[in-house]
């Protein structure tokens, strides 16, 4: 089988994209780099199509230092991610056409390629390699965000590399327990190294308490940087989880908590890109929960959700990016009324917002329904309720808050030009996919065709559509009511800021208090630590330094006594042990 494949088919398609990225780093000509950026993902997609024949393909095996590596594995799970990343790479490339920066171009290509190569690699060592490569190549995108982004980039890099190291440690332990077989398949928590692998993947997937890097780094990157970053890293981790831990119960709870906690933060946040980063986290929660449920319906839902998620999340980030590009800010308090000057962007953003909120006829409607139904089928009532609450939350912060504060709300008085054509084109492409992939008459079957298991799930039933509409309108109603209630006393421009402050008083107040306490505590602790360290250092110095107790120029007489002592020691031991 393997031998029959021609040489070209032995090469992981992601490597072509990485190669293109390295080329782009050397190319001084902007248009040539752009051509590469568009052509490389397309070429990779063609290669995947060429190699994959709807059975599992294993290729590119070779042995290094006694470890069998399988650098290419395309099966019904990884092929979805392969295509998806190629598609995202293409859309991102179009979106970035206007930007003339060779760092962005080359690192975006390497990053895209590493993500593609990572999901298509068959063994854990290759996985680890690309896992780290995504981290290292993407940090340049964060750093493109300017001075503010520098420290965030460092933090991002440290956490990502830590995740990679944990992955490697887990992989080695796991492979050892299987006699050195590094093939990346189902792991489960009972296997040695399972927990390490789970934490490694959890960091990248933004598990609760391990998620901070996402909201820290994403909003600080450059405009295109954020869009590109949001496409790959976390989805790569979702792939790894789907491969290694399907049906692991703990993931259901982790996922549900993940869907819920960002809702509160997203509601109080002012920076819209940060809001989107929280909502990204929340969406990942649905996927993690789906993986935890692990039935065929749930896994199908996860795969579909990942696919459409990359598209509509990208669309939202792109539309906010376009706004930043024109206005220079993403602060909710400084925006508003942009629908007058950016009508196309407004419409496209609304499509994205509708998709993430799972409006019928828009992308997430089908896939989120599959995950929720899977939870119901397994009688997981509590997780179901948690995810339902989170769905309403998504509607609140991503579906309403983002477009409302950007394009409507009070008029900020900004009159800017419409987004550049290439941004509009990229966004339109994404918006089109959002509609097509949920189209009730033949559209969502397209999505079904790439899912790992055959399915005949019917999303457009009356009860489901009505139920979903009820949920969404309840959320809209709540928002309107709140706003109306606050608005009522007087029509003031500042009202949104007021509401903002009200929202923040709870969250931010606690945060500020905790921060103050923490600062004081840590100052005390570091003082104590410093004292202890100094004391230890002095002790060590007194013992070991040239002036110290152990280093007095030992006269030969003393040394001779020492020799005799050692001899005595040896003889006593020998005497006791000997017959």
């Amino acid at each position: 089988m393997t031998d029959a494949l021609p040489l070209l088919a032995q090469i992981n398609p992601g490597l072509w994209v990485i190669l293109a990225g390295l080329l782009a780093a050397l190319l001084p000509v902007g248009p040539a780099r752009k051509a590469l950026a568009i052509a490389a993902p397309l070429f990779a997609a063609v290669m995947i199509f060429d190699i994959y024949d709807s059975t599992e393909v294993l290729a590119g095996q070779f042995e290094i230092m006694g470890v069998e590596l399988t650098t290419l594995r395309i099966d019904n799970l990884s092929v979805v991610w392969g295509y998806l990343f190629c598609l995202a790479g293409l859309i991102n490339a179009i979106y970035a056409l206007h930007e003339d920066s060779w760092i962005t171009d080359s690192s975006a290509l390497v990053y895209t390629g590493a993500a593609i190569a990572g999901v298509l690699s068959g063994d854990m060592l290759s996985l680890f390699l690309f896992w780290e490569l995504t981290a290292i190549s993407s940090v340049f995108l964060v750093w493109q965000g300017g001075d503010r982004a520098y420290h965030a980039g460092i933090r991002y890099l440290v956490i990502q590399v830590l995740s990679g190291v944990l992955l490697l440690a887990g992989a080695v332990m796991f492979a050892n327990s299987r006699g050195g077989d590094f093939m990346f398949d189902y792991v489960g928590l009972d296997a040695p190294g399972g927990w390490l692998l789970l934490i490694a993947m959890g960091i990248k997937a933004g598990f609760p308490m391990l998620h901070m890097w996402m909201q820290d780094a994403y909003p600080k990157a450059s405009i295109t940087g954020t869009v590109i970053l949001a496409s790959f890293t976390t989805k790569f981790a979702i792939y790894a989880l789907a491969r290694a831990f399907p049906g692991t119960d703990i993931l259901i709870w982790i996922g549900c908590i993940m869907t819920m906690f960002p809702v509160f933060f997203a509601v109080v946040e002012n920076d819209l890109r940060r809001v989107l980063a929280y909502s990204l986290n929340n969406q990942l929660g649905f996927m993690v929960a789906g993986i935890g449920i692990g039935t065929t319906l749930a896994m199908n839902g996860v795969v579909g959700q990942v696919f459409v998620h990359v598209i509509f999340k990208g669309l939202l980030f792109m539309s906010i990016g376009a706004v930043i590009y024109r206005t220079g800010t993403a602060k909710a308090s400084e925006l508003g009324g942009l629908f007058r000057s950016m009508p196309y962007t407004t419409v496209l953003c609304l499509i994205g917002a509708g998709s993430i909120a799972a409006f019928p006829l828009l992308a997430a409607f089908v896939t989120k329904a599959m995950i929720l139904s899977a939870a119901l089928e397994e009688h997981l009532w509590v997780p179901f309720a948690m995810m339902l609450f989170a769905s309403a939350g998504v509607m609140e912060h991503s579906g309403i808050k983002v477009p409302h504060f950007t394009f409507f709300a009070h008029d900020s008085g900004r009159r800017v030009r419409e987004a550049p054509w290439n941004m509009l084109l990229a966004m339109s492409l994404a918006a089109l996919l959002c509609i097509v992939l949920a189209w009730p008459w033949g559209g969502y079957e397209l999505l079904y065709s790439i899912m790992p298991y055959p399915t005949d799930y019917k999303p457009y039933t009356w009860d489901h559509v009505v139920f979903q509409m009820q949920l969404l309108f309840a959320a809209i109603f709540a928002f309107t009511l709140l706003k109306r209630f606050r608005l009522y006393p007087a029509e003031r421009r500042a009202e949104i800021v007021d509401m903002d402050i009200l929202y923040r008083k709870i969250g931010r107040g606690a945060a500020v208090w905790a921060d103050a306490v923490w600062t004081r505590l840590s100052a005390r602790m570091s003082l104590g630590r410093g004292k202890a360290a100094r004391r230890l250092g002095r002790r060590l110095y007194q013992a070991f330094s040239p002036a110290g107790a152990l280093s007095h120029a030992a006269p030969s007489g003393l040394a001779s006594v020492m020799t005799v002592t050692v001899l005595a020691l040896v003889l006593v031991f020998a005497y006791v042990a000997g017959r």
């Binding site: 013992a543 040239p546 030969s556 040394a559 020492m562 020799t563 050692v566 017959r579």
Partner: protein, 507 residues
């Protein structure tokens, strides 16, 4: 050539012995003595290569001196254990001699240069003799030949630093105690077995199942005597002074060969003459030697950290590294012994190269203290680069020699279930990172002193002469090669050696 293959062993010892006398009497001239000595060492190296090749074919060579049959005559015995060490000593001697010309010109008074090279040649002859001989008393003779010449060599550092005299005296007293203990041990063994041939002793001791109390006492004396020579903690007190104040070339040569030859003898006596299947051998190695080795690793590493003199830092680090090798012995398995053997070779390469680099720095700038290294990376970039590579190797950074052997040792310890030993190896490696890192921080991140700047403010480069650069860059390259690829060869060598020493699998 066939003559070389047949008689190379004897040639490698006899040639430097005889030529030492000739070199001592050569007329005073800057290059003459050095040229002759270098030619001798080159010939010895070629002979060592020939011996290694012959041994690889034959497995074991017994060379009868003067045609007398063992056990009555003196025999030289070459097998997979000592042939590589023989070559190691010859090669390190060659590297040191290459470096010696400019260094000696700067450090030794002209009228003493002839005797200096003579003593160095004697030392080479003695060390090689210790390694190849198959006769226990002969070992003592060669041990004294090498030691006495070493005392002289250390004392010759007095030209540079008067403290060399007290260091040499200290070394003389302790070295003599060590040699005496050793010969007492050999005497007891002779009383017990009635032979001086090591192979013979082995058969007789095995037949006596370890022998009586006499052989236990003999073992104790031999272990302590050799322990003194190889700087077993706490018997290492002679070492820092001897390394820090002797002429730079002597330090490099001693650090890479003298303790290694003594360690080889410890292998021989613990595993060939005696055997770990005797309870007292296993207990002494497993508890006393291991315990002292581990204590030494930690204490000496800490001491290395606080030194202000760079060469003393490296000297204490040598004590710590000897601890690694002894730990490998104490594990008492083939894997542990192989790790120890591998570390012996790697450490010789690393420490030799490091001391050569430091010597070059002294040669150019008179540097002895850590603080004086400020900005050396800008004034001597090549030397500093070689120093850095070797320092990484000492720490155990992947893709360097030190990594390979430390991993081998850690694996052996883990196999035995000694997780605490793995921990100690990790901790001392981190300490090595600190004490070497401290030196390199100064070298890289401090500005060179004003005296090294030209009028326009640019830094003046004063690289070491080519004769110094060649050996140190060569050793740095070797340490990287071992880390990248050579470990396959060396691992094989060390495992073969370990299997010869422990014919079974050990514990």
């Amino acid at each position: 050539m066939s003559w070389l293959f047949e008689h190379g062993v004897a040639f490698a010892i006899v040639l430097p012995l005889l030529m030492a006398a000739a070199v001592a009497m050569l007329p005073r001239s800057r290059y003459l003595a050095w040229t002759v000595a270098l030619a001798v060492v080159t010939a010895v190296t070629i002979a060592a290569i020939a011996v290694l090749l012959t041994q690889a074919d034959a497995g074991e060579i017994v060379y009868r001196m003067g045609g007398w049959e063992p056990p009555y005559g003196i025999s030289l015995r070459i097998d997979a254990v000592n042939a590589p060490i023989l070559l190691l000593i010859a090669a390190m001697a060659l590297a040191s001699f290459l470096y010696a010309e400019p260094a000696v010109a700067a450090e030794i008074a002209p009228e003493r240069r002839g005797p200096f090279y003579a003593a160095l040649l004697l030392c080479v002859a003695g060390l090689m003799g210790m390694v190849v001989t198959g006769d226990a008393f002969n070992v003592f003779v060669f041990l004294e030949v090498s030691s006495i010449s070493t005392y002289t060599l250390v004392a010759m550092g007095a030209n540079r630093d008067r403290r060399a005299l007290s260091a040499a005296f200290n070394y003389l007293i302790l070295g003599s105690i060590g040699a005496t203990f050793f010969v007492i041990g050999v005497g007891f063994l002779y009383a017990e077995t009635g032979t001086l041939n090591m192979e013979d002793m082995r058969t007789i001791l095995a037949a006596m199942e370890g022998g009586s109390r006499v052989s236990q006492v003999a073992f104790g004396f031999i272990v302590v005597g050799l322990g003194l020579k190889l700087a077993l903690f706490p018997l290492h007190t002679w070492l820092p002074g001897a390394y820090a104040y002797s002429p730079t070339v002597v330090t490099a040569f001693l650090a890479s060969t003298a303790t290694k030859a003594a360690l080889y003898l410890l292998y021989r006596f613990c595993f060939t003459v005696f055997d770990p299947s005797f309870d007292y051998v296993a207990v002494v190695l497993g508890y006393v030697v291991t315990g002292l080795a581990v204590t030494g690793m930690i204490f000496a590493s800490l001491q290395a950290f606080f030194q202000t003199d760079v060469r003393r830092t490296l000297a204490f680090s040598s004590v710590a590294q000897v601890g690694y090798m002894l730990l490998g012995i104490g594990i008492l398995t083939t894997a542990g012994l192989a790790g120890s053997y591998l570390h012996l070779i790697n450490h010789a390469v690393i420490k030799g190269g490091l001391f050569l680099a430091l010597g070059a720095m002294w040669y150019r700038f008179g540097i002895t203290r850590t603080a004086d290294l400020a900005g050396i990376s800008k004034t001597m970039p090549v030397t500093t680069a070689a120093f850095t590579v070797l320092a990484f190797s000492l720490i155990g950074v992947p893709f360097t020699a030190g990594f390979v052997s430390k991993v081998a040792l850690a694996e052996a310890a883990a196999e035995r279930g000694w997780w605490w030993a793995v921990g100690v190896i990790m901790i001392t490696s981190i300490l090595a990172l600190f004490y070497m890192g401290r030196i390199m921080m100064v070298a890289y991140f401090s500005d060179p002193p004003a005296s090294c700047r030209r009028a326009d403010g640019t830094v003046e480069r004063r690289e070491a002469p080519a004769l110094m650069l060649i050996p140190m860059v060569g050793l740095a390259a070797v340490s990287v090669l071992i880390g990248m690829r050579g470990n396959v060869v060396l691992t094989h060598v060390s495992e073969t050696a370990a299997q010869v020493l422990i014919p079974g699998a050990g514990l």
